[in-house]
Symmetry: C2
Subunit: 265 residues, 2 copies
DNA sequence: TCAAAAGTGTTTGACCTACACCCATGG
DNA sequence: CCATGGGTGTAGGTCAAACACTTTTGA
């Protein structure tokens, strides 16, 4: 259970060239001509991270939303998120990760990637709040912990899973969260075609062919042919049987492991 | 994309963050319920937009950089940018447009798109500055205006064009701008394969086949076969001759116009 | 022996590449 | 005429979709 690490993905659009980056830490630095206008001349916005937490539940791609108990948008559903703690000197990724952990209790087996930044002046009626949206993919294995954590919620917040779909009319969403969800779906649909994000949505670290195929079918929204699907997966990724079997009616299913990329798309 | 595994990730690294400040009372209100914690409880970062201004010059994809005259990073080159004016209630996109116009004088014929948000705590040594990076593609037609504007620069700033390439060793770059440039190139390389961004880098609104092909060859970094290239472009985009001709040695070149998308990729 | 899992083989069509070759047009 | 622009045809390769079929395995 412990082997899955947190993966923090890179930017969003289709990018084929993997570039391993070291931590940018060294120099540090500032921007353009900030020295002229001391940064103090400009008002500062509040900064939050919002995290679209995705999981496959009951064969459907779903996201976690939280019901707002206070205005604005009282009674509407919102993507979980929170302020970036400037005092703690956390990076945006760290803030997103902390928020995710506070919300779900998860700190492993999660893929986390920056989606986009939303900053319309009136997206929050109270004050100017910029939000850096992330999306997180979590394995079904950890879902129970999450719901447990939610139930025992410190401040007893009401949370629920909703299908992530184009027609998001059903829950009334707060702020510009409808737009964020729609951007998330677009990103996922596009990215699964060229990046191994499906492996983060599996039931567990080990999985069967049927489970992997199911993730693809759910995200892409269409059926695939098993034989062709396996051929293709095996040509792109290194997928190795663990040796364990999962029994059922006929021949037992092999348990598999994802161990790397063979071919870049 | 196994490349960028964790950045926010390995537990060791995260430990550095002083999560210990529990502040049980108010701290955990913070989660998703903005209304409780008046946003004022959290420090606010400064917010800027930086714009990677791209154009094809002398057959090379180049970007505009500005030499810093003040510390930090005095003498280094930086991506142009500026603060988001919170008082004016501008959106992020509007701020990027304004900044672009202030810098280059351009307000049309420009493709502008949000790239990614960078917010490491020490990217600017003076204070916490979050920057939302954009990239802009400008037509060669407008380049002269830009350089004119730069020359007559109000604050006489020193600006220059540099090739956008992987090996960005030549100019010493300020802040985390090296990373931003590298992300820009990845985005461009990936996006030109499935979106009509090349048309924004052409000499003018009307263009010849050779010019369009040249944009693709420059961004992709390889030669293409003219006949196949045209076939493919015509199958994807609506490209119509204006009727005008451009004379040269042999048969005159037709001037073309991009009028839409035929096929989605 | 059964039923499901897993894998093989093959056909078809789409599309990309390369190259050969055509016609058009203005100097 | 020629040089270049613009376009067609086509052969070879890769790849994906679809379908038929075989083999494996535990109950």
């Amino acid at each position: 259970m412990g082997q899955k690490k947190i993966k923090c993905g890179s930017s969003g659009e289709r990018q084929k060239i993997p570039m391993s980056k070291k931590k940018t830490g060294e120099g540090h630095l500032l921007k353009d001509d900030l020295s002229n206008y001391s940064a103090e001349k400009y008002k500062r916005p509040s900064l939050t991270v919002d995290i679209v937490i995705c999981a496959i539940i009951d064969g459907v791609l779903q996201i976690l939303l939280i019901k707002r108990k206070h205005p604005p948008f009282r009674g509407c559903w919102a993507i979980p998120g929170g302020f970036v703690d400037i005092d703690k000197e956390e990076t945006l990724d760290e803030a997103a990760f902390r928020e995710l952990k506070e919300e779900t209790g998860l700190d492993e087996g999660v893929y986390l990637e920056q989606l986009k930044t939303y900053g319309d002046p009136h997206r929050d009626p109270r004050t100017r709040i910029i939000t850096v949206a992330y999306y997180a993919l979590i394995a079904q294995e950890f879902l129970s912990e999450v719901t447990k954590k939610l139930k025992a919620g410190d401040d007893a917040k009401e949370a629920a899973w909703f299908p992530l779909e184009i027609r998001l009319e059903k829950p009334k969403l707060a702020f510009d969260h409808k737009k964020i969800l729609s951007d998330t779906l677009i990103r996922l649909r596009g990215k699964i075609e060229y990046a191994p994000i499906a492996f983060s949505l599996l039931p567990k670290v080990t999985f069967t062919w049927a489970e992997l195929q199911s993730v693809y079918e759910i995200i892409l929204g269409r059926k695939l042919l098993a034989s062709n699907f396996r051929r293709k997966m095996q040509s792109i990724y290194m997928i190795t049987p663990t040796g364990e079997k999962k029994n059922g009616f006929g021949r037992p299913k092999s348990l598999l492991e994802w161990t790397g990329i063979k071919k870049n798309l």
